[in-house]
Amino acid sequence: MEPNWAAEHLQVIRTLMERSALYRRALAPIMILAGSIGIVAAAAGYYFSIVQPVSFVIYWFSIGAAAVCGAFLMSRRQAWQQSEPFWSPPTRRVAQAMLPALFAGFALGALVLLSGASAAAREQAPAPNRIVLVCLPLAWVILYGCAIHAAGFFMQRGMRLFGWGMVLGGSGGFLALGTQTGPGLVVAGFGIMGFFFGALHLAYGIYLYFTEQRRNDA
């Protein structure tokens, strides 16, 4: 018998025990909230023509922060109603899994802000461009999909599929819109954000609302 056999056995047990601590907050209301915010924000951004690179990034960072705060409050409320700690091991694991990809998305946005600040210092206003209005949103979609997929390991299987959907959709978007130029850029930019972060979330939230069978008593 291998001398490390028992240690490997224990490691497998530990891994399985960690994996079984599933994150089971009801995601339907969170998805519906995020989707509604995304759709309204895309429509408002398009209507008010928030197309300057720096404004575009600050606008979507603010919307993202609002959606995260809303999701945080909803999760907090659920935990409170079920007399559970909010920062439970599954919650921590989900947050840790999502963080790297979300941070990368933030860094991309921050890069645009820095280049905008640099241009402003030279008294040049950067014009709306394909990189910011199309490529950046698609990169956000792909990174967000990666974050969801990573967190999906500790959640219902559907979340991983949703993550895959975002990654494939974002990649397909690059192929379809990566060379977009002209006035269609603005529509494409807000369309991408509204469709992926609005409509898809809303649709998935409604789907979860009608199909969620598991109790939230992890």
Binding site: W5, A6, L10, L16, M17, Q213
Partner: protein, 102 residues
Amino acid sequence: MNPEPFLQLDRVIHEKGRLAIMSMLAASPELSFTELRDALAMTDGNLTTHIRTLQETGYLSVTKSFQNNRPLTTCSLTTAGKKAFTSYINLLEQIIQQTRPK
């Protein structure tokens, strides 16, 4: 090496599939049949067989209910199951202590 801990290992838990089920349930108050099946990548038949064995040994309890008009099977460890699992882990730790180079 003292072979005693090896001989004391619970044969019911020691099987790979059943050990995985016990490990999952040891960290969660209860898990549904679907959650166990998906997490462990087992077939329905395989999982059912292991659950039945654990149930017959008294290590696992199965609750059948309905949710949204669909049958829901949930599994949880019994007190005897938790105790047997803890003993199993303790024996593994003893074996590790014995095999560790001094």
